[in-house]
């Protein structure tokens, strides 16, 4: 086990930020912590990294208790914080070299590592730039380069794509997958469910300081009753047809919005085929048909009764 957290409790006065929070990250995983803002993701990360005091619980990293003096464990951890943490007076290259130098003493080894980190984050053309001259996306990439240059075994990324343009975001996500393929275990926090769905092999959904569900992407979606969301274009509103559709098997909800029929089915198979068959039988002509699979937002919605981005 790379990271093991058991019954972690962290209070800020009367507010319980982490409420008996437990999680385990296995080697080679990309472990996603998904939750809305204020759900306790960053607090959990800061406790794991031994930056924050906590009231109760145990934290082990690489099989050893984690505390501020766990230098051996820290040597193998790379962190990409939510806020860009670079020195304004140093160039891109100097920043990466400085932070890498806190982990690696050998100058020649470090030079190779810094070059690799620059290449990996696509900052070759900006090596001599000062951070204030970089765009938001490039700054984020520099932030990542500073966190991973020393080739850590465990990389912890706390919302690394906040305020990043889509192109840089894709580049960052691809980079994380590359790091993982090269052997790094990754812990990734985000409130963007698409990102977590895209890259994480295991996902934990957090709310109010607790993990409310965890598993793989498909395991999480299997936990809920909600199935596909089906939209069918009809010639016009048809209340009688709507009533018939509602009575079909596995249909959870159905409604008309103008001439569009919106259906939410229960988890199961052949829902779309069943609906199209019914329309054909009734000789109802239809136009475009859309079918969406359930998302992690649906999982969150069904468990907590609120949207992930509320």
């Amino acid at each position: 086990m790379i990271v093991s957290v058991k019954n972690l409790v962290k209070r800020y006065g009367d507010l319980i930020a982490l409420d008996h929070f437990s999680m385990e990250v296995e080697e080679g995983e990309i472990y996603g912590l998904l939750g809305p803002n204020g759900s306790g993701k960053t607090t959990a990360i800061n406790c794991i990294l031994s930056l924050l005091k906590y009231d109760k619980g145990t934290i082990e990293v690489f099989g050893k208790p984690m505390n501020p003096d766990s230098y051996e464990s820290k040597r193998n951890i790379g962190v990409v914080m939510q806020n860009v943490a670079v020195l304004e007076e140093l160039t891109v290259y100097e920043n990466i070299d400085y932070f890498c130098g806190l982990y690696v003493s050998s100058k020649s080894t470090r030079r190779d590592m810094v070059r690799d980190a620059v290449r990996f984050t696509g900052l070759q053309d900006y090596e001599k730039f000062y951070p204030k001259k970089l765009s938001g996306g490039l700054l984020r990439r520099l932030n990542i380069a500073c966190g991973i240059a020393h080739r850590p075994k465990l990389i912890i990324m706390d919302e690394p794509t906040v305020a990043v343009d889509p192109q840089s975001r894709n580049s960052i996500l691809e980079g994380i997958e590359d790091l993982n393929r090269n052997g790094a275990t990754v812990m990734y926090t985000s409130h963007y469910m698409e990102e977590v769905e895209q890259i994480c092999s295991k996902i934990a959904i957090m709310d109010k300081g607790k993990i409310i569900a965890s598993g793989t992407n498909s395991q999480l979606k299997d936990m809920i009753r909600t199935g596909e969301k089906i939209t069918v274009e009809l010639p016009g509103p048809d209340e009688k047809l709507l009533g018939e559709i509602k009575n079909l098997r596995h249909i959870k909800e159905a409604g008309m919005q103008g001439s569009e029929l919106h259906i939410i089915s229960e988890h199961g198979s052949n829902n779309l085929a069943q609906i199209l068959e019914h329309l054909s039988r009734r000789n109802v002509p239809y136009g475009k048909v859309y079918c969406e699979l359930p998302t992690l937002n649906d999982v969150f919605l069904e468990i907590t009764g609120k949207e992930l981005r509320d």
Binding site: L51, L52, K74, M81, N83, A85, L102, Y103
Partner: protein, 378 residues
């Protein structure tokens, strides 16, 4: 590892234009300003002798005072400065001249020495001060004559020549060196900004860079020690540049003990940087708040060390003697003062010793707060 941190921190601090301005450029600009402002006040060109009358009197006290006045009106020292334009006359004539504005005041003897003035201004204050000083010295002379009459031969009751302070180097005291010493003390205190910067860059609850540094497998004390050394080096270099500018460009005299001057700068640098680190670890809140506290405390302590008025330094020292030893700015200005005026180094060493004790105290508190720390919140 240590050299890596030290060299990088040195690079960072050298490129920190804001702090470079406050620790080096601002004192340089202020020194030039001081030179213009104070140079004119103390130059003999701007000083005109004060017209004063002494009322004729046959008593010995009156004749002694008249001689002292005349001595002060003949000019003395390298400047040949004449303090008074004295005329001996009758009381009625003196009164008439005073009312006509021909003289600033007159001195008469009527069961003791009295000074008559029409207004209360700087010239009238000088006349009064002179008269008081004469009375004090005369009283001392009389006491000495009673105890040891033979010592009277070597005692000169009063001469304006005696009133000029002699420096250790033999240069005349132009009266403004104290302002420049206090200015250096202020620059020393501004070194606190370097200390603040070093603490903020190492504390996770003060900056994102601090959080990143905290996560590295480096002992916090080692990291802080290296960056503290870098900060002291920069501050020491800034002070040497400032002093070189004062000596070579503005002609401010510091005496000839170059080694000791450098030593005061070095220990002052350590004191200034550790003071800033001390304030930074104690003050919660924003970086701006910490900067403001350092600025306010630095300016206040510098004022007590004679930045605005040398008189304030002496007033504070006399009213609160302990203050002289716990005010780092005063220790620095006093160290330069003792190097310039005193032929022994005792006072200098006391000042340096106090700086070392204070730095050790600041540094210890900083280390105790920084070491092995988890934060309650970030």
């Amino acid at each position: 590892m240590c050299m890596h941190i030290f060299k990088t921190r040195l690079k960072c601090l050298l490129r920190d234009r804001g702090t470079i301005f406050w620790t080096l450029m601002f004192p340089l600009v202020l020194a030039v300003f001081f030179n213009f402002a104070l140079g004119n006040i103390y130059s003999s060109d701007s000083f005109s002798s004060i017209p004063v009358a002494v009322v004729k009197d046959s008593s010995s006290a009156a004749s002694g005072f008249t001689e002292a006045m005349k001595s002060a009106s003949q000019g003395s020292g390298s400047s040949g400065q004449k303090l008074f334009k004295v005329k001996v006359t009758s009381r009625s004539k003196a009164q008439k001249d005073l009312e006509g504005g021909k003289i600033k005041g007159y001195v008469f003897f009527d069961d003791g020495l009295h000074v008559a003035v029409k207004e209360s201004d700087i010239d009238q204050t000088v006349i009064r001060e002179f008269a008081d000083s004469y009375l004090q010295v005369s009283a001392s002379y009389r006491s000495i004559m009673k105890i040891a009459p033979s010592a009277g031969a070597s005692f000169v009751p009063y001469s304006s020549e005696n009133n000029i302070r002699k420096t250790k180097s033999g240069d005349p005291d132009d009266g403004i060196a104290g302002f420049f010493y206090a200015l250096i003390a202020m620059a020393v205190m501004f070194g606190g900004y370097w200390g603040q910067r070093e603490v903020e860059d190492i504390q996770a609850d003060m900056s994102p860079v601090g959080a990143r540094s905290d996560l590295a497998p480096v002992s916090k004390m080692k990291a802080f020690g290296c960056s503290f050394c870098a900060a002291v080096c920069i501050q020491f270099a800034s002070l040497l540049i400032l002093i070189a500018f004062l000596i070579l460009v503005l002609g401010v005299s510091f005496g000839h003990d170059t080694g000791y001057i450098a030593a005061v700068c070095f220990f002052g640098s350590i004191t200034g940087v550790s003071f800033g680190a001390f304030v930074a670890v104690l003050i919660r809140g924003s970086s701006h708040l910490r900067t403001s506290v350092i600025l306010a405390v630095s300016m206040l302590l510098s004022c007590f060390a004679g930045l605005m008025s040398v008189t304030l330094k002496y007033t504070v020292t006399h009213a609160f003697p302990l203050m002289a030893y716990v005010n780092p700015a005063n220790l620095v200005s006093d160290a330069f003062y003792s190097l310039y005026y005193y032929s022994t180094y005792t006072r200098l060493f006391i000042n340096i010793g106090c700086m070392c004790i204070m730095s050790a105290l600041f540094f210890t508190v900083v280390c105790l707060i920084l070491r092995r720390r988890r934060y309650a919140s970030l």
